[in-house]
Amino acid sequence: MAERKIRVLVAKPGLDGHDRGAKVIAASLRDAGMEVIYTGLHQTPEKIATTALQEDVDVVALSILSGAHMTLFPRVLELLRENGMDDVLVTGGGIIPQEDMDALQELGVGRLFGPGTVTGDAAAYIRDWFEENRMDEDG
């Protein structure tokens, strides 16, 4: 069976310019065999949701180091749902306190990764999610 590639949108929402993590993660997911689209900086949640739809991605990975995660994650989640993409995994990372990670997971955001993450762990998490949630539909 030819396994299709997992499509991931790595996005930088808001005004935050810290893209070291986003680029390292994008490159390592690509090296892990995924199809990666990186948005570049300063994206609005609307723009991210539109791109996710256009690119038909399985996963949206947001990188936020600006402290605005409690606004931006829920907003992207909501817009994706409005676009009918409720089956997309929204994950990500940044400087996010544990209790905020917990609160975001309650809202339906996936696992979030903080400083010191091994990139392989993020790739494995996405692959596991994909196998559990997408393999059936792709047959």
Binding site: G17, Y38, G67, A68, R75, I95, P97, P115
Partner: protein, 582 residues
């Protein structure tokens, strides 16, 4: 005893230069010394060749540069002491920008801080001043860094989060309420909208009755590294460089004590660059600003003395010290020999330093206190003029007051308990440090040539050269950490399962609400006609390619907001589009 007397006698008699025979003897002695050292070193290599080596490191610097087990005089024999090292305060300034360094004045303990609203940050500044900080350094929130008003819809969720929100002169007046701007120097980390915030500060000083020529401080104003690494830009490179040159030109006459730029390696390094990339990219950016000034017709000696620098201080102690030393020598050489500067003040590189935020770990965060202390030590051994020490909890959130206090105390312990500042450039003459200083200079020159081949810094930005190189180095470091060829305590070694929670600072949405209210009230209160008139005059000055400082100050005095001023320029200049790659 006899030999000793004979020597003294000959010195007394020999009042002129040594004779040819003396020199020949001295040369022969040196020659013998080198031959013997080479032989003994070969012996040492032979006996140590099979010695077991530790497997937990590959013996490279944090930048990946190989470090040998031993350095000797053979590694520095090409150094000419007077030409390459010299004395502090003298060309080429390898040993320090000032003649007496910390014997006269310790470095400025300048803590970067800002959060929520101007009123809340004003309280933090008063707290810092009361605890012995000697200069202020403003951290702005992302909306301000990008030139947006706090009530712009694009700023949702970001107001006051990563710094203080400043949208107009009114906010700046509140920020420095009760802080005399002729006595406290203010550094502002602001780049894309640097000219706006500079005008806010100058106008706030004016309101306090402080004339422009008495205002001391620094604006970062280094747009080139924004495109390369930090990414808080507004306009494309060419108009952005024009604005910076306007600031140089205006300030040389009207605000001569103000540092009009802080050419920054910090963000380049934090984004992933190696030490030599930080060094070379930053100095090359500096040369680019100098070239812009000269192209404007300014006398290099008029503006070069106000240029200042800002380095990151990473974990590798000796590499960092060598970087500071090499930076001064390279800057001096280029300023004198290539740009024709005549004044020593133009050759002298003065710098601020900040410990590397990127080295702080979220795991076992108390360990960060120790990392910061070692990094602070490197900055002081490197001869910095001012220092920010990070707080231990900044890998988790903006720092609490307690964490900031420890960061400040770290500097005070360094200054008053360790004895480190007692003598100038104590590592000069270290075979290792001198050889590393030379090597960094050599490698930086190679990178300068590479950038020249690309067509210069702006061409390199447009083609994504800097961004790609920085990302590549970031990836290399990450790979080393994951492969455990580089150990980070608490991250890939010595981990603990159960970590106690650390109290962190939380910024709620009240800052955004307060700012929206303040802006609405300001727009109500001010003379709308005057604002419109001033903004029109500003756009006209942009189109006429005039110096923007005078019309910008007028707009600021009329309480035009940051976003309004941004738009007045953007109408003509457009905005920068990032070349996206990873």
């Amino acid at each position: 005893m006899y030999g000793m007397e004979g020597m003294l006698m000959s010195q007394v008699i020999d009042t002129d230069a040594p004779t040819a025979a003396d020199l020949e003897r001295e040369l022969e002695r040196k020659r013998q010394e080198i031959v013997e050292l080479e032989a003994r070193l070969a012996g040492w290599r032979a006996t140590t060749a099979g010695a077991p080596q530790r497997q937990d490191t590959d013996f490279t610097t944090v930048s990946g540069e190989p470090v040998r087990a031993l350095y000797t005089p053979l590694d520095t024999r090409d150094d000419d002491y007077l030409a390459d090292i010299g004395l502090p305060g003298e060309y080429p300034f390898t040993r320090g920008p000032y003649a007496t360094m910390y014997r006269t004045r310790l470095w400025t303990k300048r803590l970067f801080s800002g959060f929520a609203t101007a009123a809340e940050t004003n309280e933090r500044y008063k707290f810092l001043l009361a605890h012995g900080t000697t200069g202020l350094s403003v951290a702005f929130d992302f909306p301000t860094l990008m030139g947006y008003d706090s009530d712009d819809p694009l700023c949702e969720g970001e107001v006051g989060k990563c710094g203080v929100a400043i949208s107009s002169l009114a906010d700046m007046e509140t920020l420095f309420d009760g802080i005399p701007l002729d006595r406290v120097s203010v550094s502002m980390t602001i780049n894309g909208p640097a000219i706006m915030l500079y005008c806010f500060l100058l106008a706030a000083a004016e309101k306090q009755g402080v004339p422009f020529e008495k205002v001391t401080g620094t604006i970062q104003n280094d747009i080139l590294k924004e495109y390369q690494a930090q990414h808080a830009w507004i306009y494309p490179p060419k108009p952005a460089l024009k604005i910076i040159t306007d600031i140089f030109e205006w300030s040389a006459v009207s605000a001569p004590k103000f540092n009009t730029i802080s050419i920054s390696g910090y963000h380049i390094r934090e984004a992933g660059a190696t030490a030599v990339e930080e060094l070379a990219f930053t100095l090359k950016n500096g040369f680019t600003y100098v070239e812009e000034g000269i192209a404007r017709g300014l006398d290099v000696d008029e503006f070069a003395p106000r240029l200042s620098f800002f380095w990151d201080v990473h974990n590798d102690l000796f590499e960092e010290i060598a970087k500071f030393r090499a930076s001064r020598r390279i800057w001096a050489r280029h300023m004198r020999d290539i740009y024709g500067a005549k004044r020593p003040e133009s050759w002298r590189l003065r710098t601020h330093a900040q410990t590397a935020g990127v080295t702080l770990t979220a795991q076992q965060p108390h360990n960060n206190i120790v990392r910061v202390a070692y990094q602070g030590l490197a900055a002081v051994l490197g001869g910095t003029q001012s220092l920010h020490t990070n707080a231990m909890d900044e890998s988790l959130a903006l720092p609490t007051e307690n964490a900031v206090r420890i960061a400040l105390r770290t500097q005070q312990i360094l200054a008053f308990e360790t004895g480190v500042p007692n003598t100038i450039d104590p590592l000069a003459g270290s075979y290792f440090v001198e050889s590393m200083t030379d090597e960094l200079e050599r490698q930086a020159e190679e990178i300068f040539a590479e950038i020249d081949d690309l067509g210069g810094v702006v061409a390199g930005i447009e083609s994504g050269y800097f961004q790609a190189r920085i990302s590549r180095s970031a990836r290399r470091f990450q790979d080393e950490v994951e492969a455990r060829s580089r150990l980070i305590v608490g991250v890939n070694s010595f981990q603990e399962d159960d970590e106690p929670d650390l109290e962190i600072l939380r910024i709620d949405e009240s800052a955004a609400e307060a700012q929206a209210g303040r802006l609405a009230a300001l727009r109500e209160r001010r003379d709308g006609g005057a604002v419109e008139h001033a903004l029109g005059a500003l756009t006209a000055a942009v189109m006429a390619d005039e110096n923007l400082m005078p019309p910008m100050l007028d707009a600021v005095r009329a309480y035009a907001t940051l976003g309004e001023i941004r738009d007045a320029l953007e109408k003509v200049y457009g905005r920068f589009q990032e070349p996206v790659a990873f």
